[in-house]
């Protein structure tokens, strides 16, 4: 079948099939919004009540879905104008979205069963930023979608070829031995492991009782009941059991997750592979790394074991548990890998700049003090005057705030900023200026009175905050950083 090449400079509608897909989507959307009302109506209806009632509800619901879908279809238009993809949406709330073609990284065409049946395709864009808004097209004729893809990507190919790319970086290799895995397991968060096990055990005991009428709790009571006359022995056994089981569980978890961990760099990317049963392989393009940090809890800091956290574009959409954390067997490994992101050497915190002492004083006064008073007042309902003991929390929190203030050190140069912070553990964070998307500074009434400000540099995968800086320093930083970012015009990804 011969197709005419569509003229994308003229506003285009989606395929008529989009109405059907939009009806289904609108139905789901309306059901999500109105489900409490529907549920209450259904539950409150008496047996034997007229079936017409349900029919009216269903008709009303369907009419709403169809109406909403038609409005969305009629008021959706897209076209290309002045090297931008323009999408107009909305009836009451009108919206015009303009995406410069140069920011579109990739165009994806997807077809589910419905879309295949109607010969249409869903079009989505990989543009750093477009996922935040409704920039997808639900149903475009397959041929038109292909043509649109060609037009959009042709622009990217042309500009990329003209600009060239960075030179390849020297290769680095890194892997974890069995001893490293043991170190990693022993320094893991055993409290978390214990809590997971505890919840699992309760569920298993409950399931056993239901399935086999096996009284797990009674069985445990019969074992520990014999020891109830000797409380020291009972406590020792319980604590030993908790420690052994939690540590054992941590070891198993770490081995399953990080077994045969390998990381190597090739050109512009890191290749990471790991896992015992579920083997994962991930590619991390170096230009995609926005923020570079590594941290260690108190125990890991003492045994020089650090976790590398590479914040890449799109990380904010991933659950924290699913983010890739790379175990490192020494501070120097982190420093070596960091060189691929920021060439300036990692700073010595003892030589770094600090923040104003108002940071810990205001935190104590405005956060710790009210929380302490609230906790003590609440506890006084049950404990009477003994609740006053909880006021001892205030000096503890004040000390923690002071330690955080003392450990907060930073250093900035022409390339970027480096941070060192932590209470018992430590975290190093590096940011290269060219990765910055936005600069902001804020002043509370107290900060305004004392000429202080909190400075924030936002990247595409998180932010770096420098709290309680003198206003003059903050302004100099803002002006200097903006000059660097705006005059160099370097690619940030």
């Amino acid at each position: 079948m011969k197709h005419d090449t569509p003229d994308f400079s003229v506003p285009q509608r989606q395929s008529a099939a989009a109405i059907v897909i939009l009806i289904a989507k609108s139905g789901v959307q309306i059901a999500k919004s109105l489900w409490p009302i529907l549920l209450v109506t259904l539950l409150r209806s008496k047996k034997g009540s007229s079936p017409d009632k349900y029919l009216y509800i269903i008709i009303g619901f369907a009419a709403l879905s169809v109406g909403y879908a038609i409005i969305r279809f009629l008021f959706y238009r897209y076209y290309i104008q002045n090297n931008s993809l323009v999408i107009q949406t909305g009836w009451l709330q009108k919206k015009t979205l303009s995406i410069p073609l140069q920011s579109i990284q990739a165009v994806h065409l997807e077809q589910n069963l419905w879309q295949q049946a109607f010969g249409v395709s869903k079009v989505t864009f990989d543009s750093a930023g477009t996922e935040k808004v409704e920039a997808k097209m639900e149903a475009i004729n397959v041929y038109t979608a292909e043509q649109l893809k060609q037009v959009l990507l042709q622009y990217k190919i042309t500009t990329d070829t003209a600009e060239g790319r960075d030179a390849a970086r020297p290769p680095v290799q890194y892997n974890l031995t069995i001893v490293d895995l043991l170190k990693l397991s022993l320094s893991a968060n055993h409290l978390e492991a214990f809590l997971i096990l505890f919840v699992l055990s309760i569920n298993i005991l409950d399931d056993l009782r239901k399935a086999f009428e096996f009284d797990g709790w009674g069985w445990m009571e019969s074992i520990f009941g014999d020891m109830k006359d000797n409380m020291v022995a009972l406590f020792s056994v319980v604590i030993l059991l908790v420690v052994v089981v939690s540590v054992g569980f941590s070891v198993i978890r770490v081995f399953i997750k990080y077994y045969d961990f390998k990381m190597d760099s090739g050109g512009h990317q890191w290749r990471v592979s790991f896992g015992l049963f579920n083997r994962q392989q991930r590619i991390i393009p170096i230009p995609k790394i926005q923020l570079f940090s590594w941290h260690a809890n108190y125990v890991r800091r003492k045994i020089n074991f650090w976790m590398l956290d590479l914040k890449t574009l799109g990380d904010e959409k991933v659950q924290p548990k699913q983010r890739l954390k790379i175990p490192l067997t020494g501070f120097q490994s982190a420093v070596n890998i960091a060189a691929s992101y920021q060439q300036s050497p990692v700073f010595d915190p003892a030589q770094g700049a600090g923040i104003e002492p108002a940071y810990w004083q205001r935190r104590t006064l405005m956060v710790s003090l009210p929380v302490t008073i609230f906790v003590a007042a609440f506890a006084a309902i049950w404990l009477q005057w003994q609740a006053l003991c909880l006021l001892a929390l205030l000096p503890v929190w004040a000390l923690q705030n002071f330690m955080r203030y003392q450990n907060f050190k930073w250093f900035a140069n022409h390339e970027g900023v480096q941070l060192h912070k932590g209470l018992w553990g430590r975290e190093y964070k590096l940011l290269v200026w060219k990765k910055i998307q936005q600069v902001s500074y804020a002043q509370s009434p107290y900060q305004r009175r004392h000429q202080l400000a909190t400075l924030q540099f936002t990247t595409a995968a998180g932010a770096v905050t420098l709290p309680y800086l003198p206003l003059e320093v903050c302004r100099r930083m803002v002006n200097g950083v903006l000059y660097t970012v705006e005059s160099a015009n370097e690619k940030w990804m």
Partner: protein
């Protein structure tokens, strides 16, 4: 060896454009009226819902609870009213050749600066009340995150479209040519 076209002039720190010297353009007068109307509508709706709750749910008809809810509602409404007014007075925007600035906040004053060479896309939107007063908002998006980096509210529809067109043009041609 071929000598490339290269320059590396000294930059005097005092010559770098200073953020403290920027004059911010205030929001439109009509915008204050628009936010007051929006506040009024929300106030009436929330007040009606609160009254309906106490009238129709007999278990809630406890004098101290009614006074407490009424007091909290009045206090919160007053706070929002004062906050809206103060925020309107402080808010403003500025367009420079290479960045867009927006300041806002009534308690904590915040100034955001967004380099134009980082903008991904721009959108203009207006609600029914804004349209009644010929107003619109411009949202400016950079990479990452889950919402616009900032939205300049309370400018005329014409200005909003001018800002959008001007920024779109700069993104395409590069800020150097501005």
């Amino acid at each position: 060896m071929q000598v490339m076209d290269f320059s590396n002039n000294i930059v005097e720190v005092d010559d770098i454009p200073a953020i403290e010297e920027v004059t911010f353009k205030p929001l439109e007068d009509n915008y204050l009226l628009a936010i007051r109307i929006a506040f009024g509508i929300n106030f009436l709706l929330a007040g009606a819902a609160l009254i309906a709750g106490f009238v129709f749910i007999t278990k809630l008809q406890i004098p101290w609870l009614m006074y407490l809810a009424g007091g909290l509602f009045a206090g919160l409404s007053l706070l929002i009213w004062v906050g809206n007014n103060l925020n309107y007075r402080y808010s403003g925007y500025a367009l420079r050749q290479k960045d867009v600035l927006y300041r806002s906040g009534w308690f904590v004053h915040k100034t955001n600066v967004l380099p134009i060479n980082r903008i991904q896309h721009i959108s203009v939107q207006s609600g029914p009340i804004e349209r009644r007063f010929g107003l619109a908002s411009v949202s400016i998006f950079t990479a990452g995150g889950s919402s616009a980096d900032f939205t300049i509210k309370g400018i005329t529809d014409k200005t909003a479209n001018q800002v959008k067109d001007w920024l779109s043009e700069l993104i395409k041609t590069g800020t150097d040519e501005a």
